[in-house]
């Protein structure tokens, strides 16, 4: 296992593991939002912005792991 191949492997695994749970989180956030819109279609405008905010927070964690991948050399 040369250092270069370990580096490539680490980069790939970091992004793979770091993206799993944020993806799950975003899916749960948006699915709850869809449920509540389905139950009350008029609230779609009110629910959209908090949903987007929550999704941006969850996505930030995946972005942190992407930044770690960028800094590995």
């Amino acid at each position: 296992m040369t250092p270069e191949s370990m580096l490539v492997l680490t980069k790939g695994l970091t992004m793979a593991f770091g993206g799993m749970i944020p993806a799950l989180a975003i899916g749960m956030i948006v699915s709850r939002a869809m449920e509540s819109i389905g139950r009350n279609p008029e609230s779609a405008g009110k629910i959209f912005v908090p949903m987007l905010l929550g999704a941006a927070f969850a996505e930030a964690i995946a972005i942190y792991s992407l930044v770690v991948v960028f800094t590995l050399k």
């Binding site: 905010l53 941006a56 930030a60 972005i63 942190y64």
Partner: protein, 270 residues
Amino acid sequence: MVLPPLAAETIAHIGSFPITNAFVNSFIVAMILIVTAFFVRRNMKTRANQAPTGVQNFAEAVVEFLMKQAVQVTGDEAKARKFLPLAGTVFLFVLLNNWLGLFPGMGSIGFNHVVNGEAEFFPLLRSAGSDLNLTIAIAITSIVATNVFGVMSIGFFSHVGKFLNFKGFLHAWHEHGIGAKLVGFLVAIVELGVGLIEIVSELAKVLSLSLRLFGNVFAGEVLMAVMAGLFAYFLPLPFMALELIVGVVQATVFAMLVLVYATVSTQEAH
């Protein structure tokens, strides 16, 4: 296919101060905002029976929209009015920077220079959010400002008392009975620890704000470079649309977080 490097490239020097291409972008956006403000203030119609026209009309519409959103986040109109200059400026600055980075010519107009024996391409313009210096600067300014708002609102000792929390010891001392005193003492130690962790959480706020914006914009730049390198016609189009949306969403998230932190900072300690 040349991916943009992590650090923004220095393209010129003023004395010994390096000018990076992201700095040029942020300077252009600052000039756009300042010139717009100048033209709004010139012959400004301020009396109640004069309808605003032209640039002033547009600027008033933008400010009213931001004020409405701010009142929704803070819940209190006086507080929203106090925090709007900071949060609104952060929103407009980050939004214009993100959108300016999508113009044709960003990242493609530049010069070749020999670095360490090989020719490297130095673009003259680059999206400002893709430079970590800019995002950390905005984040530090915003968090320092929220703490200053806290001190201005609830007083210096009350604000510092949120972080160095010795009030629990006072409560424990006034309890009756040795058992109650002991329990109160332990609770006070835990509260002191929580207050110290809050100091670390302020640093975490700076890091999370800056890294969120930097990661989104820089990943967008890399994505555009990869897509344009794959097939330069029509393929980058949906990704340009994605970058437009990401620009708006990240500006909104940054500004809303600044508002929320300022609101929490100016609340009385419970």
